[in-house]
Symmetry: C2
Subunit: 566 residues, 2 copies
């Protein structure tokens, strides 16, 4: 019932119910339930020719006598004997996906009737009692029995039916098991699981935060939903907690960005008295311990930001294939492994030429080298698509895991709309490397400063980011106020806290949803989230967000102003 990949990983979790200290006489699945067996329990050969009862869903029905019962552990065929006239009559009218109860004798099927497509295809139940617990509507909006996938909006609208498909059971159960392994590893290594607030105040810089009106002081006061536990985890380090982690719900108002969610989950952690090397080692060992496939080698390879941009034209390269950018005097080039004569439209960008004799894509370097590199980076990915789809050359192997650390980012980046101003490349709490501390004193050197920020990239996706933090109040204040010109009054509490013997500290956050989407090979992160919203932030099942009554707004001293937003 489960794919091979997940099977390798789940057994310990899924079967642990058989190794518990349960006092139950028959099966652990009866613990805390009036249900006697799960389907998977029936593989126990001692149950053959014994009376068993099951609760589940009617997966399939043929005429008035043959049915298949499903629960999350598997499928089992059952037969209503001709003597059960009344039950057969009811059964005949029972829609699939109805919740049913059966009791009967577990039998081996005759050799010729064995269904090799079913795990328990050699067994069947000769029913002695049959009940419909809760009938299902006769027409289903989506097909739950097949692997076939309905369109996504139907799946989201009827998520509870979508959950009944094997693949969704597998994904959500895998998520639970994966998080359990992460926790186990971190707790074993003395990390403390600490919940931090979601209702907080605006953090200057960074993503747009949702605001939450309050009734306090006749209106005008708002919480902000935390976009990450960043400040809290630093305060915990200052408080002497040394090793913190949290599977943290984070909120960002990023409606409209593809494959983002207004709320998402991070594996968030922070340590005192650590170097970048320590954090790299921690995360590498964490992933080895929790990843369902064997991770071939640690430590993971590393690239500096500069080298990464130069070779791949992106700071999150997919290194499962080469096609690296070559620097030839005034030109950038990518050498293609085959002639692309017969491909009509490969390049959208008029600046890139194709030299068929040397099988090279060429781009003349213009003033902005970074922009050129980004163009070549995009070309590299497009080229990979074409080679895979049209030429059937497998460049990006499934279940090959190319983890890669990116280091040595510039601490500051010129702002897009005013390149004379700087913003933090990561966030304003990231420390410069020690050797560049002195560059803070001269404005002209600021853009040269390298920060102690690091990203973890997996097969072309950024899956984690973190940094060693500033623990000196003076430097933190200088960067916030003098370099970034941020409104410092929002962060006075953190600046103050740094004055009370703050320890050196650093941390990282892993994007759980993205990690799971990669390891489960789903198209969207929505497929690894139980109740996701659409890319424009809607819950299609419950129709959220929705209007609220005026009295509700009055309570918060608010009114809607439909004037156009500029």
């Amino acid at each position: 019932m489960f794919s091979n990949i997940v099977k390798r990983f789940l057994p310990t979790i899924r079967h642990c119910r058989f190794v518990s200290s349960s006092s139950s006489s028959s099966s652990f699945s009866t613990n805390f339930s009036y249900r006697q067996y799960l389907v998977s329990d029936l593989s126990n050969i001692n149950l053959i020719d014994r009376s068993v009862s099951l609760h589940g869903w009617l997966q399939y029905r043929r005429m008035n006598s043959f049915g298949v019962l499903r629960d999350h552990s598997g499928l089992i065929q059952f037969i209503l004997p001709s003597s059960m006239k009344e039950e057969r009559q009811i059964f005949k009218q029972t829609p699939v996906e109805s919740c049913i109860y059966i009791n009967g004798i577990l039998k081996k099927r005759p050799e010729k009737d064995i269904n090799t497509n079913m795990l328990l295809g050699h067994l069947e139940i000769h029913v002695t009692d049959f009940k419909v617990i809760n009938a299902c509507l006769p027409v289903l909006p989506l097909d739950v029995s097949k692997y076939h996938e309905s369109d996504e909006s139907t799946r989201l609208m009827y998520r509870y039916l979508d959950f009944r498909r094997d693949i969704m059971q597998e994904r959500i159960r895998f998520r639970s098991a994966f998080i359990a392994k992460v926790r186990e590893f971190l707790l074993k290594h003395s990390f403390i699981d600490i919940e931090t607030p979601s209702l907080f105040r605006r953090t200057p810089g960074g993503a747009r935060e949702f605001i939450v009106p309050t009734h306090l002081q006749n209106g005008g006061l708002f919480y902000a939903l935390t976009q990450s536990p960043q400040q809290f985890k630093q305060l915990l380090m200052i408080g002497g907690f040394d090793r913190y982690f949290q599977i943290a719900k984070c909120f960002r108002d990023e409606t409209g960005r593809p494959d983002r969610q207004p709320e998402f989950t991070q594996i968030d952690l922070e340590l005192s008295f650590v170097s970048r090397e320590n954090i790299f080692s921690l995360i590498e060992q964490l992933l080895v311990a929790c990843w369902p496939d064997k991770i071939e080698k640690i430590p993971f390879p590393r690239l500096t930001f500069a080298e990464c941009m130069s070779r791949y034209g992106t700071d999150k390269p997919d290194t499962r294939f080469d096609l690296e950018i070559e620097h030839n005097l005034e030109q950038l080039s990518i050498t293609s492994p085959i002639s692309l004569n017969d491909i009509k439209c490969i390049i959208d960008d008029n600046d890139i030429q194709y030299d068929n004799n040397n099988r090279k894509f060429l781009l003349n370097k213009t003033d902005n080298e970074e922009e050129c590199l980004i163009k070549m980076g995009r070309l590299r990915l497009k080229l990979a698509d074409i080679l895979e789809k049209q030429y059937k050359i497998e460049l990006r192997k499934r279940r090959q895991w190319n983890f890669l650390w990116i280091t040595d980012f510039p601490l500051f980046t010129p702002m897009t709309d005013d390149r004379t101003k700087l913003e933090s490349t990561h966030h304003p709490f990231t420390a410069p490397i020690d050797q560049h501390l002195s560059l803070l004193s001269s404005k002209k050197d600021w853009s040269r400063i390298i920060g102690q920020h690091y990203d973890l990239v997996l097969n072309g996706f950024e899956v984690a980011g973190g940094s060693i933090r500033i623990y000196d109040s003076f430097i933190q204040r200088f960067i916030l106020h003098d370099i970034l010109n941020l409104p410092i009054e929002h962060l006075e509490h953190l600046l103050k806290a740094l004055e009370y013997g703050a320890p050196p500290h650093g941390g990282i956050a892993l994007g759980l949803d993205r990690l799971l989407a990669l390891v489960l090979e789903t198209e969207h992160i929505r497929d690894v989230i139980a109740f996701p919203k659409t890319s424009n932030g809607k819950d299609l099942m419950a129709q959220a967000p929705s209007q609220v009554e005026q009295s509700e707004l009055d309570y918060y001293f608010l009114q809607i102003n439909k004037k156009k937003y500029h």
Copy 2:
């Protein structure tokens, strides 16, 4: 360093770093850190006369040579030899609570110098290297070295310093360990850890929910922050997940209610194919597995709501002491174990008389018997206070854990402001007991219907509540619409879901903050929450909630309307 109670519980968690498969040569505390040892590592006798280095905080300093270094694992004295002239000069000016590094030789102290008040009072470090990593301001707003507690607002304002006190380290670490045990138990029993959204839509009835404005569709659309995962967990059961749990963050806008928090944490769970008995047994075994003290007997005692009110005048009685209410014809009475002649003002309520000859408090039953019982229930608690405080009679023993199930609540309760209308006693998803299903058909019988709701009470506090749910769409619709007159359009998705073969299911939620406050014997739940808000919803450290810029409100098509709220 830790209280005895917690010591019994924490060792497995706190010492697990020594049993890890770490490849570190010296100590597990060096893993993923450049710190060599924690103070607690120094109890290893093999380290005596060896060179050790530590990172921590300066807890105490005497003159220019004696100091005590603290980390979360303990305290160690160190001595700067007279040869270290320069370091002594620096040390002399180092404020306590500065973050420091020391390196030196670990020595046994001479017999006469052993400090029996310190766990490692027989040891000291003869320093060979001393560094101030980050100096602390010379004046601290609160005393972190002593058990003495500053006033709460100072503690909340400087939470990061409050964390450095042993008692706070203990509480937050205990919380982490307790949650880990809860998870371990539930995962072992096949529960799946599933995250559900915080951004959802208004649920009719129940507590006031925070609203979150969105930018969608030119304003007017709001999320609501979920007050509990109730709907999601029912949808998960309908989706075939059978056993769900979540350590769930919940939100309620209950500003101003004492010892409540706008965000709080529940151990939330739900199962398919369960009876009340199954859930009682589950929770009893869960608590036995996770409670730091031995729980003397399971199953826990049970009382029906009616009997509970009749005997204790409350639905959450503290049963560690008797003083039960007696029913004598037209009077209610509580017999006091001693004469209270000399107590001046024990009863605020003029209706209650004291009969000194029979040592009884008496109240004539008036029309509303329930009100009378509640009065006597309050008297019972007041009486207990007086007997304990003034007469030194220990009624409510510390660390005696009287768990108690309350069952058989009425399904509906007349509304306070219009007693002809009914509201749900628990919530509108609770099922009636099977025998009372037929009473739904006649309006006059509605108030007699008993629900399948249950509360768990511990020493006078409600610590959990749950129910067996309605799984029939028709009954659910009838109760929501015809009996409760709730706006059904907010719940169409759930009503629809019940039509697709929903299984019978039920669940419970434990109030984690309250449970921890009880087991850690703290006055407020704020003491077991890392970053709590005050009772009126403020974060004193960061000054949240705060004002937001008008541009922010414009983005959400909102404006503030200061008109008085009615």
